[in-house]
């Protein structure tokens, strides 16, 4: 195998490897059924050992993890609660060394301000203030999208979702589809 391919292969996560929790209060369920007993909760940034999708419901994944009180949990979580990406350090440490989670970062205001003043000055210097206005319009459009809307859209398309308690949620196993 060429060196480049080997390097990319090393990046891939396989069952038995590590995935991360991306959603606050991720429910760990006893069975791959959203109505089954909740064994515990996991929090964003926490790592879990990934055992792969349930054969009967590809959107429920078996994991092993540890909750914030140190209790070991082994059960099933929705695929939408898992991410292959370890959270960027900007969420894990502040200048004072204390951990900060994504929600705290968002609520600090740092993640919600509009186009930076320096960029607006740059647009004016380059005589493209109209593009700065349009970029701000794009920012507003992206900001208008809610987590609920993303979950509804994903659910309607059969993609992964992170929520269990949406109206009309039955989370039925995906229909068997043809292999390509």
């Amino acid at each position: 195998m060429p060196a480049g391919l080997a390097a990319l292969s090393a990046l891939a996560v396989k069952p038995g490897g590590t995935l991360y929790i991306k959603t606050k209060d991720t429910k760990v369920l006893e069975k791959p059924d959203p109505k089954s007993k909740v064994l515990g909760l996991l929090q964003p940034g926490g790592s879990v050992t990934w055992r792969g999708a349930d054969p009967g419901n590809r959107l429920m994944h078996k994991i092993e993890g540890t909750d914030s009180r140190g209790h070991k949990l082994e059960g099933f979580v929705l695929q939408g609660n898992l991410t292959p990406s370890q959270l960027s350090p900007e969420y894990l440490k502040r200048d004072d060394g204390k951990p900060i989670d994504p929600e705290a970062f968002r609520s600090s205001g740092a993640a919600t301000k509009a186009l930076d003043e320096a960029a607006i000055d740059y647009a004016q210097a380059k005589q493209m203030p109209q593009q700065a206005e349009r970029l701000q319009a794009l920012e507003a459009i992206s900001r208008s999208v809610t987590a609920q809307r993303l979950a509804e859209r994903s659910r309607a398309l059969g993609l992964a979702t992170a929520q269990l308690d949406m109206p009309g949620d039955s989370l039925k196993p995906a229909k068997k589809r043809g292999t390509r």
Partner: protein, 319 residues
Amino acid sequence: MTRRLGLAACALLFTTCAAFKDLGRLVDKQADPFALVDNGYRCKAIQTTPVPWEEEYAVGGAVALGLAAKSGGFGVDPATAGGGARPDSSAADQLNLALAEIGLNLASYSARPEIPWTFGALNSDVANAYSAPSGYVFVTHGLLAKVENEAQLAGVLAHEIGHVTKRHALRVFAVEKSWVCLAMLKGEEVGLTRVQLGDGRTVPKIELGKMAKGKLNGFFDTVIGKIVEKGYAQADEYEADAVAAELLLAAGYDPREYQKLLRSLPEGAGVWPNHPPPKERAAKLDPVIAEMGAGFGLDQAPKVPLDPRLASARRPPAR
């Protein structure tokens, strides 16, 4: 190596070792311009120091505007841009809303889920996609006309998300910042401030907010030129592709559709000559998809058609 050779010669010939040592130092300094200036190492350290969020946001906005200038401008309803319409009031904005919904969902699985991601279309017929620091991701109308389904489009967006989460553009920015710092140490007027150390020496402190506007804009021009004109290194492209495959799997898409898109692009496709061939990029994704795909039930991934709101990309863009 030069220094080692010098010392070896010194040992063998019992000649003036000091002279060889000095020669070695001189050659080393010539290889590293930061070593030629007092305190130059402080400037070089900028290259590996994390860029603060405020700076990332400032340079991200400037790069986004630079991309718009070179790629036909943003495809936004002019009424919306003036603040006179609802975000969902036109076909152009419906298209941008659809891109935001697809992109934000992917970004939620990324290493930087909570930065203010912004997704949108550029009025260019050349098929391409771009990103800028702090979460700006854009696709051209030309690329939107090429994708066959949502998984392919999601792959393009996820690749650009990968460039942002891996901070590829910020690395370019940090290197340029270190050169500005070095110029300042050499006494050039670069519009930055110095801070005084306890021992009376002064060293440059690079803060974008303290740069004179004219100098700052020139600095932005340099950074934008590096990122927009030259593109990223080949290794960065492969890394962004690997992130794309991971995000596609996590979100529930079939990443093989992204490979299919890459394979459909002609050799030499893309704006930058240093980009690796698309078919080679597709091939390098095979091990990533094979390893992760089995655990994610890849063969049961839904076939998601293109969102109807993207249809306006196939019409002449609004300028």
